[in-house]
């Protein structure tokens, strides 16, 4: 009984169906654990946590400079900025907007720096549905390659105060 003390010498190796199941489960667990390193080397989607320490002020200044030099248009009063293919792009999360809007070329790779100047935010690209955490003080660098053309929205999926659900942004891929 599981509520009474077991017999004095209860240790015995598993047997029968129980033993088979443990073997099967262990094999499945090994498959699970091999999948991650496998994808790390062979897969195209990885979150490696590439990041650098940065002050919010320094990051905001760099974003401003990026907007000034690379702005190509404006939508809804938000500057649309086009980084050079293969280069660095900057995105600032703040209460409550993603700044600026980005214009990227399909199948080009960018180093997308994301950080926050106030609270924690959640970068959530829709309807592609890719999600990354954004922290103040951390320059989170995603080496990203858009593989499909289209207009994508960024929503915030980390609670950041009362206007959280209004925090949106845009990425256009051409």
């Amino acid at each position: 009984m599981s509520i009474h003390a077991p017999e004095a010498n209860w240790f015995k190796p598993p047997s029968g169906a129980e033993r088979t199941w443990i073997g099967l489960a262990l094999a499945w667990c090994l498959v699970l654990s091999i999948m991650m390193p496998y994808w790390h080397f062979k897969g195209k989607q990885n979150s490696t946590g590439d990041s650098y320490r940065v002050t919010p002020a320094a990051f905001a200044a760099r974003v401003e400079q990026f907007v000034k030099t690379n702005k190509v248009a404006e939508i809804n009063g938000v500057p649309v900025v086009e980084p050079s293919p293969g280069g660095d792009a900057y995105l600032q999360g703040q209460m409550w907007r993603w700044y600026p809007a980005l214009k990227l070329r399909v199948n080009q790779t960018y180093r997308l720096h994301i950080s926050s100047t106030d609270l924690q935010h959640g970068f959530s690209l829709q309807p592609m549905n890719m999600n990354f955490q954004v922290l103040p003080g951390y320059d989170h660098v995603l080496t990203i390659t858009p593989t499909m053309k289209g207009e994508y929205s960024i929503v915030c999926n980390e609670f950041c105060g009362i206007g959280h659900h209004l925090m949106t942004g845009k990425i256009i891929v051409e």
Binding site: K12, S15, G16, A25, T48, M128, T145, P146, T147
Partner: protein, 55 residues
Amino acid sequence: MPENEEKAAEVFAHEHEEEEHKTPGTVVLTLALLISFAVYYFANWKALADVWHVR
């Protein structure tokens, strides 16, 4: 010594026999779990392979 060991093995084998349980229903239940697990898990890898490349 070998005799003792033999005896011990015998006792163990005997206990073993007594303790053998038949649980075919549980086996089917857990196999169903394993199969649904594998289907959901690999469907997610497939979905992941379809999004933008990132590192």
